[in-house]
């Protein structure tokens, strides 16, 4: 049990520190890396409370897709202009009041959720649901997803396929006049086609690559 709480405090400490670092570090690339660290530690917390499916999905979706997308966007920005120092100057926080208000609202919402949970336990009772405690989350989600909702699962796959085709069609442009690399052509080149002996005229020269 002590190991469990040790791990819990370890991961929560990392999560809190890295989320503070996300908003306070000046270099945006560092921010994104701290965001990834935050996601990873939170997914570890999820796994520790037994929501292993949610943790893994978090890892795949947020770390694998969203954060990498952020990283690409940030790399498009001009990072070199941003200063080297780790923390920003404190008087530039003119947006602090609005941020505090939003933070307070979210905090009160959390309080409402937690108090409902604490003082009205029958609201969230899971006894009425016939859950089999012995099988894992992944197993039971898979059971529903691949039997009752198989058609929706497959159709969602078709939607993703269409999205992929659409993204490629609308962005990919075959430009003419660009020299493309072709391994087969390069390997199968022979001396006959590559080298030619030219009689050079005096004061005229030869023109290469016509």
């Amino acid at each position: 049990m002590i190991a469990h709480s040790l791990f819990f405090y370890f991961f929560s400490f990392i999560a809190i520190v890295s989320s503070v670092m996300v908003i306070s570090s000046k270099n945006t690339v560092h921010s994104v890396f701290f965001l990834i660290l935050d996601f990873i530690s939170i997914s570890c917390l999820f796994i520790m409370v037994g929501a292993e499916f949610l943790g893994m999905i978090m890892l795949i979706v947020y770390v694998g897709a969203v954060a990498v997308l952020f990283l690409f966007v940030v790399m498009m920005l001009n990072v070199a202009q941003q200063g080297k120092e780790l923390f920003e100057n404190i008087n530039t926080y003119s947006h602090l009041p609005i941020g505090l208000i939003v933070g307070l609202i979210i905090f009160f919402e959390l309080i409402i959720v937690v108090s409902g949970w604490k003082y009205k336990p029958e609201l969230f009772s899971i006894d009425s649901l016939s859950l089999n405690q012995n099988i894992t989350n992944t197993h039971s989600i898979g059971n529903v997803l691949y039997t009752d909702y198989i058609h929706l699962f497959q159709l969602s796959g078709m939607i993703l396929l269409v999205a992929m085709i659409g993204a490629i069609v609308l962005t990919f442009k075959k430009k003419s006049g660009i020299k493309r690399q072709s391994y087969i052509e390069q390997i199968s080149r022979e001396k006959k086609s590559g080298v030619s002996l030219v009689e050079v005229e005096r004061n005229v020269g030869v023109k290469i690559d016509e």
């Binding site: 058609h151 159709l155 969602s156 078709m158 269409v162 069609v169 609308l170």
Partner: protein, 471 residues
């Protein structure tokens, strides 16, 4: 497993879409082959649907997917219009360099989404089908990347559709929360438990659906998207999604919301009235033919909704007949647009039609027939379509709807006749190229003959559709 025959068409279309993608990757310059294979795919799935006809109602996947007379018939109409769309726009897409492997694949995926929408009997299945239908449409609208209007059309359609999807989903979640189920039948059973709250869900869902069929006041996207998209894609917009959207309207109004008829009737009547009036008035000043067709399609959706507002079986049937005839007329008009080519360039402005009758008597004659039919002049099919709808409206003594509908018909006749005047009495322009597009010619001949000779044997279509009994 015995029921797999009823979803074979959907499975077949999705598998062949994937196969065509792979085929297009491995075989170079195969866009024409893929296009023809896509047409063949549609024909085979049409055969599969006709083959699996039953008189029973079949429920699949825990009652979330329904096969009955309505879904079978609407699927057949959707696929036939898809086939004719592809046949008639074959040469246009080839000449404008639109035709690549992805174009045909996206159309197949969109038609798959429509089939799912038509059969859906559950909120989730319906939404998935809707997204699968409209996602390819966004891409197709923006397909011509050399034209800035095309990108604008794609973006506008995407953003507004996403907004309407959000509204629709909000309505779905309200409905699920208050009725406790996503299944249409269960919702209809539980609708009285929280009646006023369910009405909120009903309104949001109807707003979302009205966006999709571009009924006034949710029509803003239609003219720009119709004008900006490539002409072949505009034809697709004008034909096939309307079938699916109308079916979904029928399903929603007459299964989960059937007991709330007093509430939704007013909404549908308002949508219908405003669409009819707006479609008639706003089209008058248009210079571009595609834009004009967009406004006329808004008006025509108003007439189709008028049939649905009645709340009787005959109203539903007459709406479906209206949509069928409207599809045929649209196909003919666009076939004429596909033939207006000069020096490799296609024209779509009203003034380009000027004096068409001197140089191209056949095209002008078919345009004359189609425009007369759109205006609702007897004995063309368009007259009968309007006649049936107004007959069922008057049967329920909703005279106001009928009177406004007739007035807007007269107003809209003005701009249809104006086009005919431009074709027959204005100064002729330069001659268009002689085209030898077989697909276009077949489609144009067929649609014109169907419209012209409908009055000879009207009971064929009526008997087919009279099998649909929802209530």
């Amino acid at each position: 497993m015995a029921n797999i025959i009823f979803i074979l068409p959907e499975i077949f279309i999705s598998l062949s879409a994937m196969f065509l993608l792979i085929f297009g990757v491995f075989k170079k310059n195969s866009s024409a082959t893929v296009y023809i294979l896509a047409i063949i795919t549609l024909i085979i799935s049409l055969i599969l649907i006709i083959n699996s006809q039953t008189n029973h109602e079949i429920y699949l996947f825990n009652n979330s997917y329904k096969i009955d007379q309505l879904s079978n018939l609407m699927k057949i109409i959707a696929i036939i219009s898809g086939i004719f769309f592809m046949l008639s726009s074959y040469d246009y897409t080839k000449l404008t360099n639109l035709s690549n492997v992805e174009y045909s694949t996206l159309i197949l995926c969109s038609i798959l989404g429509m089939l799912v929408m038509i059969s859906s009997y559950d909120l989730i299945v319906f939404y998935i089908g809707l997204e699968l239908q409209s996602l390819p449409l966004y891409v197709l609208a923006a397909f011509n990347r050399n034209k800035i209007q095309s990108s604008e059309a794609g973006l506008k359609y995407f953003v507004l559709s996403a907004l309407s999807s959000g509204i629709l989903l909000y309505g779905c979640s309200l409905l699920y929360g208050f009725s406790g189920s996503t299944n249409f039948y269960t919702i209809s059973q539980n609708i009285y438990s929280h009646e006023t709250k369910n009405v909120f869900g009903l309104v949001f869902i109807l707003v979302g659906l009205a966006f999709k069929i571009s009924a006034v006041p949710f029509h803003m996207w239609a003219p720009d998207v119709y004008e900006g998209s490539p002409t072949s894609v505009t034809l697709f917009f004008a034909m096939v999604p309307k079938v699916a959207a109308l079916t979904v309207f029928i399903r929603f109004l007459y299964v989960p919301f059937v007991n709330l008829i007093d509430q939704w009737q007013a909404i549908i009547i308002f949508l219908s009235l405003s669409s009819m009036i707006f479609g008639a008035v706003a089209a008058i000043g248009q210079k571009n033919l595609k834009r004009l067709i967009a406004y006329s399609s808004i008006g025509h959706m108003g007439y189709a909704l008028a049939g649905l507002a009645v709340g009787t079986n005959s109203g539903i049937q007459n709406s479906i007949i209206y949509i069928c005839i409207y599809l045929i007329m649209n196909l003919g008009i666009f076939c004429c647009l596909f033939m207006m080519k000069r020096n490799g360039k296609f024209f779509d402005n009203l003034e380009d039609l000027s004096g068409l009758s001197k140089n191209h008597p056949v095209i002008s004659l078919s345009l004359l027939i189609l425009l007369f039919s759109l205006a609702g002049i007897p004995p063309m099919a368009g007259f009968f379509a309007k006649f049936y709808v107004f007959m069922s409206v008057i049967e329920k003594s909703m005279y106001f709807l009928a009177i406004v509908g007739l007035i807007s018909t007269v107003v809209s006749a003005f701009y249809y006749l104006k086009i005919i005047k431009i074709i027959y009495f204005d100064e002729p322009k330069e001659k268009y190229d002689n085209v030898n597009f077989i697909g276009v010619k077949i489609s144009l001949t067929l649609s014109t003959l169907l419209i012209l000779l409908y009055f000879v044997y009207p009971s064929g279509l009526i008997n087919l559709i009279s099998k649909i009994n929802i209530i």
